[in-house]
Symmetry: C2
Subunit: 218 residues, 2 copies
């Protein structure tokens, strides 16, 4: 995500999503207008309205887009479950490796604003739920694979997935709303300790790091 | 918190805080006006303005008030560290036992809206940071006492506290922004499993439940 001048040409909807991404990072959700998105885009505001009736429709599509980007980038079938899990945690906490962390926290801030609308906005709630369930199912599948391969203990995959995602969600929100800036890092260390004591079978304390995705998990 | 007709008389500032609490639960943050607070209160809007210049000042004081209420209620010196920790988790996740859960999620929703302002609002960020640091220091002290008494393993108390608070924060926000309503419950079970495997020394798997507090940890 994030268009560079040497990226290959993209279709209009992809271009709108990239423009929305940049506009959200630059302006936040509260100041996000169709014009602000069009300004990040080489077409007119009319083109946005042709594709999306309202800003809400556009943002719901943007949440779907984040989920697709996440799914594309973590689809590493066959890789070691421990490595996949570590990469997923790293990416959810700090953003995909190829994206700057600055961008990541800007997007996290905008996502927090969108999330704070969700209790009063059924469409946002529904799409955030889809994103959450999909990401959780990914974690559950990785944990199940690890148990089957004898790498992970016989834990409850739903419990592991819920705890991981809740702590990552909470840590990212702390990171952008508190004065201290090490909450995500400390949470990363805590999750390492938890995986070691709760999840990994003894002598499975090895890990890697790869993957991508935001998935609206802010 | 929450005034009943048979509560003892309270001073004006306490009465304003209780009115703010009820107004936030009933209207949320977005629709919170000084008039809405005065309507929950047996005095006029003028009294509010006499005590607080702006709605922001009042809300910063409200965050302090939540922290004091939390501190009063979890101050159970001498109690068993495992019991204190379980009670604190239960209270942060689901609200103080004497308060209805409905209220708790309404307040969580309003607190999420306040938190989403924090990246752009230095006063909110500063007070949310104070609340976070104080609650975290409480968890750290409990964990340290448990280690000293040989009940807990020799873990890093800062890691434990950060992970607990981040997962509770994330779970509460999921609870009010997703369609499913069991995230807090599943997180509770996950935390039990973590405490068992990460924190408790073998044969220290006993617990209790008590205490109070919200502490702005939403």
């Amino acid at each position: 995500m994030g268009a560079n001048s040497d990226d290959p040409p993209v279709d209009t909807e992809e271009a709108i999503m990239r423009a929305t991404y940049r506009a959200l990072c630059n302006h936040g959700y509260a100041n996000l207008t169709m014009q602000a998105i069009a300004d990040e885009f080489d077409k007119t505001k009319g083109v946005l309205h042709y594709h999306y009736d309202t800003k809400q429709d556009l943002l719901v599509s943007f949440l779907e887009y984040l989920l697709s980007a996440f799914q594309e980038n973590i689809a590493v079938d066959g890789a070691d479950p421990a490595e996949r899990l570590e990469a997923l945690i790293e990416t959810l906490l700090f953003g995909p490796p190829e994206r700057g962390r600055f961008d990541h926290w800007e997007l996290t801030t905008a996502m927090l604003e969108i999330r704070s609308e969700a209790p009063h906005n059924e469409e946002f709630r529904r799409q955030l739920s889809r994103n959450h369930e999909t990401v959780k199912a990914t974690v559950v599948a990785i944990v199940e694979a690890g148990i089957e391969q004898g790498i992970f203990r016989d834990v409850d995959p739903e419990q592991v997935a819920t705890l991981l995602l809740a702590s990552i969600n909470g840590a990212r929100i702390y990171q952008v709303t508190l004065e201290r800036d090490d909450v995500a890092e400390v949470t990363r260390s805590s999750l390492d300790a938890i995986l070691e004591h709760w999840l990994y079978c003894p002598d499975e304390l090895d890990s890697g790091s790869k993957a991508d995705g935001n998935a609206g998990e802010d």
